[in-house]
Symmetry: D2
Subunit: 337 residues, 4 copies
């Protein structure tokens, strides 16, 4: 059960709803987000929705059969729109491109990447300053000072930045310098991090876990949404299988399945999804035809010199070609719809 409340609901009205839900053996969790005010009811009994729906203070009530509720498309048929101002939106029906290096390295690298993106009319730049690395002896990123530089340079050019947050304590220091918080595949079930991102008024790009199921991705999104943040994007980036010919197995099946289960936009990361530079392009185009709302990929002026992930990173000329092809492919998808 999902109850949308009126903004001006009174405490007495709310208490009456909670009490009536309790009579029906439903436990309620109150959720206040940037955009709405909800009561999420968990319980099993079947009942006539009008018993509750007619109470004062209620905007709408929905029966949601999924265990995740707020992110389910069963109550919110209209897709989520994430608005960045200046006419920039991530949403179903638009095609979003996010590109940039795996790691932010220095001023020169940022500048050249920005110039490349601006020339291609791409509005989001990705780049990590806190890098999760399997080995403690690997390069771990430039840290918060790198982020400040990254942000200032992008802001000057109207570029929004997408960057990974790895732990709760980083959220506050990163927030002034971040447009989109990315949650990486190793943190998809870092529930404390998800809880805290629920309190932030900035969009979150949530990646699927390294061997996460589609349902687990939706549950993790539910954590952030129920924490108060509706500005969510999901990201398919390949899963772990027995196949070793590619870095991961990009699960494009997940795209139409997610698009039916949730109202959130779905982005695909073909760079991590296949892990081989030459094949990023066909997988990006495939993802678009499968229904992706956007593509995030890695590009670098000199991929072979990149501090990390060079083997799956496109040069700027490859990136240009990809952007042109992706836009044509998205046009075809709209035409065929």
């Amino acid at each position: 059960m999902l109850i949308q409340l009126h903004t001006n609901i009174t405490p007495v009205e709310k208490a009456a709803i909670i009490s009536k839900a309790g009579e029906l053996k439903y436990k309620t969790t109150e959720v206040v987000t940037q955009a709405g005010h909800y009561l999420v009811g968990t319980g099993k009994a079947e009942f006539d929705v009008r018993i509750i729906g007619n109470l004062p203070g209620i905007k709408d009530i929905h029966i949601v059969s999924d265990d995740y509720r707020l992110v389910s498309r069963k109550w919110k048929v209209n897709p989520t729109v994430i608005d960045f101002g200046d006419g920039l939106q991530v949403k179903e029906g638009e095609f979003t491109i996010m590109a940039g290096p795996c790691s932010i390295e220095n001023e020169d690298q940022i500048e050249k990447t920005i110039n490349h993106l601006v020339s291609q009319n791409v509005r989001f730049m990705r780049g990590g300053v806190f890098k999760p690395r399997s080995s403690p002896y690997s390069f771990r990123g430039l840290g918060i000072e790198g982020l400040k530089l990254f942000y200032e340079m992008c802001r000057a050019q109207g570029i929004k930045i997408v960057t990974e947050v790895m732990q709760v304590s980083q959220i506050a220091e990163m927030e002034p310098y971040t447009d989109v918080f990315q949650v990486g595949a190793r943190n998809t079930q870092n529930f404390n991090l998800l809880d805290e991102l629920g309190k932030v008024d900035k969009p979150v790009l949530l990646k699927r876990g390294i061997s996460g199921t589609i349902d687990e991705l939706l549950y993790s999104a539910e954590y952030i949404f129920s924490g108060g943040n509706e500005k969510l994007m999901l990201c398919e980036r390949g899963i772990r299988t027995y196949e070793t010919a590619s870095r991961n197995t990009l699960d494009l099946n997940a795209i139409p399945i997610l698009k039916e289960k949730t109202h959130l936009p779905v982005i695909v990361d073909p760079s991590h999804g296949i892990g081989i530079r030459e094949y990023v392009e066909p997988m990006a185009l495939a993802a678009i035809m499968a229904g992706a709302d956007g593509i995030i990929y890695e590009t670098h002026e000199k991929p072979e010199e990149a501090a990390s992930d060079g083997a799956q990173t496109l040069s700027f000329s490859e990136s240009e070609r990809l952007i042109r092809k992706m836009r044509k492919t998205f046009e075809l998808r709209k035409e065929l719809a």
Copy 2:
């Protein structure tokens, strides 16, 4: 090492080549196919190819670093063309559609499917008469009599048939009534079956194993080719993973990887690859953008009444829409190439 021999090579010349290869510690396997005559050399030593290449009777010699050799693109840069006569070819650069029911059920079903295919200018009909089923108590297909009926009805309309062969003893009885022998995912490593299909002068559609690697698929193709049959098509049909939201995980990464590793055409089966009727279309279109040379899928006049696989089978009107969209998608891919 792969040596292409002249057709008119003499036994003495051949013996000289084998002997010289032996001196270099290479074991040779002679392969005679419909199209060529080869010596496949297995060994490890590095050597100057001219030592052998200049011997009489040799057309060409190639060093192939892959463990599979005859199916490798490292010696045969030009893609394999499978010619069915009447201008019908399966090959890179053309787009092939194969459609039909999971199981052949009766004359009426065959007729209606043929009419549907002819109206859409589709030239291949799929349909099984020998069905591999997990449980011995399930419907196992109409058998050889069903195949005869299927074949006669298709031949009358210029439709080629694609049908599964499950064991060696079926090959001889099926051959007069079959245009393409399909090897199913449970038989990809049924090496005796592969050996015998090498002796047949009919094309084979080899499906990837249920949890087969890309390399295992190529090794299995090497069995058929080295048995004498070059008319091979590979088929990606989804692999087994931990994800339960779809029947299998369609591994579209395999498409660009296979297209680089082998000269054989690559077909994709989105019906088994996702297993959910509503999502067959986006996965088919995705597969085309990933580089597939063809799509094989399930269609039935009344999917809900199909003897098997109804949940992933398209109705004829869904099939029509899919065909139209696939052709437009393939046009775009050619345009972008």
Copy 3:
């Protein structure tokens, strides 16, 4: 529904039972094995078993909720005993050891292995003469002549042989020289092979598929049993996962689960299960404590010279030590039961 029939049932009595089952919407399959006579009923309706159970000609009737029926422990509580004569039995409560090389190579190898086994009081020797190999250019075994030699030498010493059958056509030629037909992991769902093995009056050791589920293993066993052969042993030999530190992932969870689901004996193959010689011993002992009825493993006089699988093959002295430890471990398990 599973109906055990009296041996002397009349055709009229049988027809009456089939007709009554049909009235209840149950389709019946008649199964005659070496040991019994059954009607397997597939249907969904609930009914009072006495409606059928009281008909003449019926020994017993059971409701079996599993989709596999004849191999289920829900009707046959007593474990299956496979009797080889001379007091040699494979069954729950006894501990069976099967050992020998991956491939039969020559007379000397067979003789030395037999001597080793006889000295250790081991009664089963494993060894392949038809080898399934990923690559067509690998050694494929000595074939039927090797089998004859293998069999004659073992028979002279009272050793039973376990050897892999790969295709239907081999069954007849192998039968006179085989004590246990082994079905390999690539053939677990080769349903034609299973059907034919159902007609044979020799025990079958059925290996779990490379990425087969426990239920699929039981369904495959159901094929053989319903074909007429009750002399079945199951074998866990490791499954395919993402982990590359071992050849396969030995799934010992499967042991207690299989022991509860089926009345058939369960053998474990730690050689393929881990694939690393040094670790075969701990995995064998672990399998015994998990409840295995027997262990099959690879041993060779000189593992480093074995024609195949040397990296996972024990020397005779390692084998001796393992046998001693396995027997002590099995004693403890019985003591703790």
Copy 4:
């Protein structure tokens, strides 16, 4: 390269070593733990160890070919001993039992569990107060107040507690009330958490990731060790595969592999490893024969009323029986060694 330093090394001596390593193109990371002082050198060049080994201030120098170094057995042949005082040690050669509920629920539950453990001479009690749950609406544990109660009650009875830490900010508040910090399977690659646990002078039980490789587990251990904490135990708890008959696939192959690769003790969790109450016992005994140094499992006075994981939790009488059998199994393993 791993260099063990003398405790009284002077800054000048240390600088000389770092400088000499730099000449050999080795980057050094200084590590100071509770037990030792190290320089970890990462580089590729081969060199004569005496070039560095003879410098003053060096206790020993080792070439370690693994990418993880401090946790490798290639430099530290003697197994790690974790000393809890009172003669209580976790180490190779001893058998450690850790038991208790999934979640700490209330005073009565703690008391009854302690009484059970004391009566069985078990010295470690497990129990979570911060619970990672897929759904945000599930019970998330009693929190820090629950931990204080848990700790005080255990201390009074000489029981050490093992409890999960989910995020960096919990470490400081938990530390006074925790004997062993458990890192759960969803946090194995939460690198910030690992870094911070490196600064703590309390033992850590690090679980393998949900689909983590053995090498990734060792890298994660390297994070904690290189952060300064040598008191590490590893825990195999099952991995995610396609098999659905069990909750996870307990990978006992990992035990002998880990015991060879690392000097750290290895604990096995059969409760999560199979997820089915009836089968916890055989899997625990199997794990011991595979070489486990200890077993951690779930027990509750009334499993069917447990707040979480009831389906895999043993009753106290089942727990008693298991303890008796585990000890006898461990005795046999020592006897056979």
